[in-house]
C-alpha cells in the first residue's frame, strides 16, 4: 500500500485517501503554440522507469493537489512537496541524489 505525506496537513495518507494525477511539472502549451509543443504537452510522456515526479490530490483529506517524487521501478518515495512550484525543490533533489548518485535529472 502506497503511503504519501500530504505537505499541507502533514498526514501520512494511504493511497485510498489519494487520487493520482499523472506527471508533474508539465509546461502548459495552449492556443497559439506549435503543433509539436501542443502534442508533447497533451500526450507524449517519458513514462520513466526510475525517478518520477507526479501529481497527487489529497482527495479524502484537505482536497489539495501536491507533488511527489517516487521511483517507479522500486515504489520508493523520496518525498512530497506543495504544488506551487515549477521545479522540484532542492531538498527533494538532494534526497534523490543521496539514494541515486547516477540520476541525471528530469528527462
Amino acid at each position: 500500500m502506497l503511503t504519501l505525506t500530504c505537505p499541507y496537513c502533514g498526514i501520512a495518507a494511504c493511497e485510498t485517501e489519494l487520487t493520482p494525477g499523472g506527471e508533474a511539472h508539465l509546461t502548459r502549451f495552449g492556443p497559439g503554440s506549435s503543433d509539436d509543443d501542443f502534442e508533447a504537452y497533451l500526450f507524449l510522456r517519458p513514462n520513466v522507469r526510475g525517478v518520477h515526479f507526479e501529481r497527487w490530490r489529497h482527495a479524502m483529506g484537505c482536497g489539495k493537489w501536491f507533488l511527489a517524487a517516487r521511483d517507479t521501478a522500486t515504489l520508493e518515495v523520496f518525498g512530497t512537496y506543495p504544488a506551487q512550484t515549477t521545479e522540484p525543490p532542492e531538498d527533494i533533489v538532494a534526497a534523490i541524489k543521496a539514494k541515486r548518485p547516477d540520476w541525471e535529472g528530469r528527462p
Partner: protein, 414 residues
C-alpha cells in the same frame, strides 16, 4: 519439425516418450537480420510468424529479455472478444477473434480456444444505452453480438445474483463466439512455428540501445552484443516508453499495474465469461476449475508488476455480491502485469520518426484477444509500409485529433 497429432501421442506412448523434440531452438544470435523484433510476447511472436507466413520474410530474430511469454501474455485473464464500438477496433479485434477460431490447426499447437461466450453486464441505465448502441454498431460491422435481458443472463449463468441490492443486473451485451484461450500456449505455439521457419528466438537478452545512422535504424545493442537489422519492430507492452526513449522518440503511453487472481479449483459452476464493468470485476472458470478474476488498473505509473491491494479488494467485494457462491473461496495466486495505456484506450501500430523502426503497443489491459490480428497487421505494415487493418492506429492520430475512443465506449477493456 515433427507434427503433433493423436498418432504422435500413440507413437510416443509406445516408446516411453523419448521421441519428443524441443518446441523451439535456442540459437546464438547472428550478426545481421532483415528484421529484429524486440519482445517475445504474443504480439511480437505473432508479428514474426505472419512476416514469415504471409510475406516470406524469414531472416528474423525475436529478442526477449526474460523468457518468451513471461510478460503480460502469460499474466492475463485470457478473455477474447470483439464487441468494440469503433469501426477500426471492431475490424482488428474481429480479425483476431476469427484467426483464433482456427489457430490451433494453423499452428499445429493446441491453444485451447474456447468460444464459450462473453457477457458484459449492464448494471446501470447508462450501461443499457451504451451496450444497445454497441450491439447496433456491431450489427453494422458484421460482428455477431446481441443485447439480452436479465432472464437470459440468469439462464446462461445460473450462479449470478441478478437482484444485487447495489448493482442489479439489467441486461448484458452477449457475444456467443467470444471466449478464452490458453495464454501460454498462444506464445508457445507461435514460437514453435517461428523457430520452424528458421527464425531465431533469443531469450535472456535485453535490448539496451538502438543504433541509428542518418535517421535510419542499423541495429540494436543488446546484453549479448550488437545485432544488425534493416527493420526493427518494438513490441514490448509495458516497457514501450523505455524502448522509445532508447530509440530517440516519445510515445503517448503511461505504464501502470493491472492485477488478477485465481481461486482454488472447484467443480464446474459457470461456462461463460462474465464482465461487470461498472464495478470493475470480471470472472470465468478455467478448465482446472479455478475461478479466474480480474479487475481495474491502478492509476499511477509503476514498473514493479505489483499493484495496489485496494483495487483487488474492490473487485472481490463487487464480485461476491454478484456471485454469492464465491464468498468462501480461497484465493490461490495473485499477480500483476505492467500495462501500456494510451489516452483513447486504443493500441498503436505505427511507423515512427525513425526510418525502419515500427512500434506495436498501447494494448493496455486488453491485448491478449488481439494477438493474431495485431501480428497480422504489424507484419503487413513492416513488410509493405502500409496495412489496412493498422491504418487508423498510427501514433499521429493523437496529434491530429483522430482518437479511436474506446474508453468512453467500454469503461474498461479487458
Amino acid at each position: 519439425m515433427r507434427r503433433y497429432s493423436a498418432f504422435a501421442i500413440a507413437r510416443e506412448a509406445a516408446r516411453h516418450h523419448l521421441g519428443w523434440e524441443r518446441a523451439w531452438r535456442s540459437p546464438t544470435p547472428k550478426a545481421q537480420y532483415d528484421v529484429v523484433i524486440v519482445g517475445a510476447g504474443g504480439h511480437g511472436l505473432a508479428t514474426a510468424y505472419y512476416l514469415g507466413k504471409n510475406h516470406g520474410i524469414r531472416n528474423v530474430a525475436v529478442i526477449e529479455k526474460g523468457w518468451l511469454g513471461g510478460g503480460n501474455t502469460g499474466r492475463n485473464t485470457t478473455i477474447i472478444r470483439s464487441n468494440y464500438l469503433q469501426d477500426p477496433s471492431a475490424a482488428i479485434y474481429e480479425k483476431a477473434r476469427s484467426l483464433y477460431e482456427t489457430l490451433s490447426q494453423d499452428l499445429n499447437y493446441n491453444i485451447m480456444f474456447s468460444p464459450r461466450g462473453v457477457m458484459m453486464l449492464a448494471q446501470t441505465e447508462h450501461e443499457i444505452r451504451g451496450y444497445r448502441r454497441t450491439a447496433h454498431a456491431n450489427a453494422l460491422q458484421g460482428v455477431a453480438t446481441e443485447f439480452i435481458g436479465p432472464a437470459k443472463v440468469k439462464e446462461l449463468c445460473p450462479i449470478i445474483n441478478i437482484k444485487g441490492p447495489r448493482y442489479p443486473v439489467l441486461g448484458a451485451l452477449w457475444q456467443a463466439r467470444a471466449g478464452t484461450a490458453r495464454h501460454d500456449a498462444v506464445a508457445w505455439g507461435y514460437a514453435r512455428a517461428c523457430s520452424d521457419m528458421g527464425m531465431d528466438i533469443i531469450q535472456q537478452t535485453e535490448v539496451t540501445g538502438v543504433r541509428r545512422e542518418g535517421g535510419r535504424v542499423t541495429g540494436v545493442e543488446t546484453t549479448k552484443g550488437f545485432i544488425g537489422c534493416s527493420k526493427l519492430g518494438i513490441v514490448v507492452a509495458g516497457h514501450s516508453g523505455v524502448m522509445a526513449e532508447r530509440a530517440g522518440f516519445r510515445l503517448p503511453i503511461e505504464s501502470v499495474a493491472l492485477q488478477a487472481l485465481v481461486s482454488e479449483p472447484i467443480k464446474p459452476v459457470m461456462d461463460v465469461v462474465v464482465m461487470a464493468n461498472t464495478v470493475h470485476g470480471y470472472m470465468s472458470q478455467s478448465d482446472k476449475g479455478e475461478m479466474v478474476i480480474g479487475g481495474g488498473a491502478d492509476g499511477y505509473n509503476n514498473y514493479t508488476q505489483r499493484g495496489s491491494f485496494h483495487h483487488v479488494e474492490e473487485t472481490v467485494r463487487a464480485l461476491v455480491e454478484t456471485f454469492p457462491i464465491i464468498s468462501r473461496l480461497k484465493m490461490l495466486r495473485w499477480w500483476g502485469g505492467i500495462v501500456d495505456m494510451t489516452g483513447d484506450r486504443s493500441p498503436i501500430i505505427s511507423k515512427t520518426p525513425v526510418d525502419g523502426i515500427f512500434v506495436n503497443c498501447g494494448w493496455g489491459t486488453g491485448g491478449f484477444k488481439a494477438i493474431p490480428g495485431s501480428g497480422w497487421a504489424m507484419a503487413e505494415l513492416m513488410a509493405k509500409g502500409h496495412s489496412p487493418l493498422a491504418a487508423e492506429f498510427g501514433m499521429d492520430r493523437f496529434r491530429e485529433g483522430r482518437f479511436i475512443d474506446e474508453s468512453v465506449a467500454a469503461g474498461v477493456a479487458h
